[in-house]
């Protein structure tokens, strides 16, 4: 089933210990779309400037990504310049030029309106909410955000969270949003803000999927007398029953890689693999959710292997599934 994604399409200049690249195609919606395109149809809503030409368009076209919702306006596209020289886990931003993205007014093409899945990539929560409201019939909505919106645009963000099924953020963002240093406590606080499920991305340590618990149950509650209760926990009443029963915390790995060429977009690629896989399933069962976490990790790991979107442009589904098997072997007992 088709996913509509709204977010940034940008140019990035990136420096890492492996080298430097000028004005790669980037942006959250780009990484998300490419990663998700190996699983399902993807439709993008974004805005670009005159510098976005045939070459960039071809990257989307090669993956059959619908770009009818990419608005072309006068001016330059969103530009970001950053480096990871000291720490591959955290970008140092040198330049952020919003350019045409500063006046982004997402417009949803008519042909996108039958999308059953919606991904709100990291943009102004006011815009995220507007798109969400204009697509009331989607089956499942996931989204991302960042420290800037959490800190300075909290009220608008909280409105978005009410309309989200799944929020995907990193550790720092989860702790900041939830207001707890303890990740399990932070996760619980975030889930009380609206989303049924929360994916916390841990970079090189993988990612954890938390679900909203029935009242009175604790995430990560491990007094041993609780174990069997946890293991047999009945499903909570859910507004969206297609997510399924028996919702348990789940951790997907990331693989220790000898060389991370460029971590830019790894989180967005995780989201693309995760949501793309989910959107391709006939039914969203707990087992599908777990496999989606693995596919998220798989796509995140591919993204890091080359600069920008290079690696994500050239994959095959067979390569993706082979790595899925590798991730399974990395974590499974037998």
């Amino acid at each position: 089933m088709a996913i509509t994604v709204v977010g940034s399409v940008a140019f990035d200049s990136i420096e890492t210990p492996a080298g430097r690249r000028e004005r790669c195609l980037g942006g959250a919606a780009t990484y998300f779309s490419l990663a998700a395109s190996y699983f399902t149809n993807v439709r993008v809503i974004a805005v670009v400037g005159d510098d976005f030409g045939k070459r960039q368009e071809a990257v989307f076209a090669a993956r059959q990504i619908d770009t009818a919702g990419i608005e072309h306006t006068k001016g330059k596209s969103f530009f970001w310049e950053g480096s990871y020289l000291d720490n591959l886990n955290e970008a140092k931003t040198h330049t952020t030029e919003l350019n045409v993205f500063g006046n982004f007014e997402p417009k949803i093409p008519e042909a996108y309106r039958d999308s059953e899945f919606l991904f709100l990539a990291n943009i102004d929560p006011v815009l995220q909410r507007r798109v969400r409201d204009e697509m009331p019939d989607v089956k499942l909505v996931a989204g991302d955000t960042m420290n800037y919106w959490i800190k300075d645009h909290r009220a608008a963000l909280l409105e978005v969270l009410k309309g989200l099924d799944i929020l995907l953020i990193n550790d720092t963002e989860a702790r900041m949003l939830g207001g707890h240093n303890n990740l399990a406590q932070a996760a619980r606080a975030v889930l009380e803000m609206g989303p049924q499920s929360l994916v916390v991305k841990h970079g090189e340590y993988g990612a954890t999927l938390f679900h909203r618990e029935p009242a009175g149950q604790q995430i990560g509650e491990f007094a041993s007398q609780q174990v069997s209760k946890l293991a047999n926990r009945p499903c909570g009443e859910s507004a969206r029953p297609q997510i399924g029963r028996s919702k348990k915390t789940f951790r997907a790995p990331a693989l220790p890689m000898e060389e991370v060429v460029d971590p830019t977009g790894a989180g967005d690629s995780f989201a693309g693999g995760f949501f793309g896989y989910l959107a391709a399933q006939p039914e969203i069962t707990p087992a599908a959710f777990r496999r989606a976490m693995f596919y998220g990790s798989v796509m995140g790991s591919f993204a890091c292997e080359r600069f920008g979107t290079e690696r994500l442009q050239q994959l095959t589904r067979q390569q993706i599934d082979e790595r899925f098997i590798l991730f399974r072997e990395l974590t499974h007992l037998d």
Copy 2:
């Protein structure tokens, strides 16, 4: 089969956000022994002062741990005082009094000499090596160390590493010892120093087991054309064939806990669960290694639930196995 462990038995004064405890029974050998005692027979080599009395002795006795190798001398036992007020992942040391531990000369009781497993907890590498040399017939030797020895006693530590089958250290120590910020590269460098296997403990993110690779193969080498090669990699020639074939990188989870009461000893408890489980197996297969990683994580998670060794004193094997199942559910796709 019996494990002999050499290391510290100490008193700890600990402050965490959950409260404060004065002079708990602590020390790496204590946590290790208690955790391992749920799987196999454990024999301790340590030194204590006059302050180690019947009450402390009873903690070991209740778990059938052999304390014949705990030497009692005049003076005070090793004392450590620390807090985790800002960061539960890293202790702030306020006081370290070596006391009688400063003159520790490990003496191996005759009755310990048929131990088939040896664990060298974090002590002066000169002493670790001496004990290793005095027990040449053990089947498997594992050990721990810390930043102090890595930084200032590197030559002595390198001698120890040559005689180790398995080294268990944390991320920071692995990066420091291996001389790489990248964990996979650091792991490879550490494995070239001697150990066949390396367990890197990631605290709340679990732990990763790396094995020495046949020459020309890379840990974490993920070019897709390599995947099937990796999956079918033949066993390397091994000096200790009982470790088995098909040695792959493996990641065990840690569970997101709502309340970490006291992380002191979690790493030593991981080692005790890991090595204790291995020692109890009729054959040390790759599958046993993977299960051992899970049991390590399980024992580490229990250790954090109460101050000091409180939780480790009161477990049942059933509780341990229930949590093992929980960890399996946390990570397994079906």
